[in-house]
Symmetry: C2
Subunit: 288 residues, 2 copies
């Protein structure tokens, strides 16, 4: 169960994230294999040294070699895959994932899993505005956060191995959270911000404005280029938390709006001072 | 009226923006003087070679030397200054400013100005999250936009001189807009984004979340460190436009919220695809 240099690692799903995992782990000396739908993805990963070997179909003789399996799939594909193929996995293997929501995934997987396998959820908080293995790079993990989300079903050994994995991948900060705390946090910090960016871009056709824009609009909308298939699924899988955070934001935004509408400079300035003070928490790793 | 290397330039107000103007113009070979409230600001600017000379009081014999005067003051301070001191200005001098809103400033200034002076508004779309002459640097103008906002009262010569000024400062893109178009644009691209960033930070005490955050939250809240005195004044000076843009954003945000609430994946994905497509307009100058 522990992670060591003899641990054979299978990446299931060779997109941006799966490919970046493969590159990081191969570069750290692990034997890394992969399963992908498209043969072109396997070929690309072989040619660029991301993996040692790979398959386009779920070959039982291939799957059973691996000690650690990382699922880098859309959530619904992940569950379907396990249902069909978990019988092929070597007893004692450790399974983990990269899914951006946890509560609706972790328990479902643990409930359906064979008793001689262990699944522990993890969320690599890294990404790019582009997708596909061709854009994979381990550089996205540098300085980023990796969150392990154990439940009561997880062993200490699995938690330790999953945190080791985060270190091998090159993440800067590796922490644990319950699936519930994770989802609350991600709804506010990530899903809400994507909703805001999308809403800003959808609000008006701003093509004619692009020549006038300053950095702030670019910064706020960088994440407005969004994988609609993945994010719509993630939003619905965390719907209750996301709606709660959206409503919290809307209330604050309305409060600021109303202070402007009634010329209430004192109320506006108080919100701005609180905002300025709180934003400093996030400064430590930033160059000015 | 035209800008040439003999044009003597006075900066009124030596904060971040005034200091950055002074540095850029001094480095381009102009004779630059300054008026500031604090003697320490003048001393700093002299010691660091930002200006050739300066004063802490509005000395008429000093003010009357200059051909071009740039006002880098808060809007209400700007109007007060002109009321008290415009009699000292040399006939034929050109006046411009750096104010972030235009409709409520440009006409007021032009209406009160002596008939032998000319004022033309300009908005340098550049800045930092820090203030004061000690943080001044002409680097903030590199790659940035400079917008001249002429009215029917402005001469072609003044428009040309003001655009020349933008070039001498080192801006990348120099354009003209009516004050009204400018204010509509700035309400959406800049003021609304600052309202969003402030609302995000005020919505919850996120100190405990800073260790989990990815780039998106950092990007969206970088401008949440905000000069509350300046921005509250700018918001109220552009209140009608800003409220209209805030309401437009709120409507779109509510539409996205409702599509999530009713599990309407098609509606969500349509908004995300539109967002992705529109964001590409803003890509040209960005590294991925």
């Amino acid at each position: 169960m522990g992670l060591n240099k003899n641990t054979k690692i299978l990446i299931v799903g060779l997109g941006l994230m799966g490919g970046s995992y493969a590159q990081a782990l191969t570069d750290r000396g692990f034997e890394v294999g992969a399963l992908a739908r498209r043969e072109a993805s396997i070929n690309y990963a072989l040619e660029h040294g991301l993996i040692r070997h790979g398959r386009c179909n779920a070959d039982p003789d291939y799957i059973c070699q691996f000690d650690l399996i990382v699922f880098a799939l859309y959530p619904h594909v992940f569950l379907d895959w396990l249902r069909e193929n978990q019988d092929c996995i070597r007893p004692g293997a450790l399974l983990t994932d990269v899914t951006g929501v946890k509560g609706s995934v972790v328990y479902a997987v643990q409930d359906m899993l064979r008793s001689d396998l262990e699944f522990i959820g993890a969320h690599p908080m890294a990404g790019r505005e582009v997708s596909g293995v061709e854009n994979a790079t381990k550089e996205i993990f540098r300085g980023a956060n990796y969150i392990v989300t154990p439940t009561g079903k997880n062993s200490e050994a699995a938690i330790a191995a999953c945190m080791d994995l985060g270190r091998e991948l090159g993440f800067q900060t590796i922490t644990t959270l319950t699936p519930e705390k994770h989802d609350e946090m991600i709804a506010f910090l990530s899903q809400l911000t994507h909703c805001i960016a999308v809403s800003l871009m959808v609000s008006k056709d701003s093509e004619h404005l692009s020549r006038y824009t300053g950095d702030s609009f670019r910064d706020l909308t960088r994440i407005a280029k969004i994988n609609d298939e993945m994010w719509s699924e993630l939003f619905l899988l965390n719907k209750t938390e996301l709606l709660a955070q959206m409503d919290l934001f809307s209330e604050t935004f309305s409060r600021l709006r109303d202070s402007i509408a009634r010329d209430d400079t004192a109320a506006m300035r108080e919100m701005m001072r609180l905002s300025t003070q709180r934003r400093k928490y996030f400064d430590k790793d930033e160059s000015v």
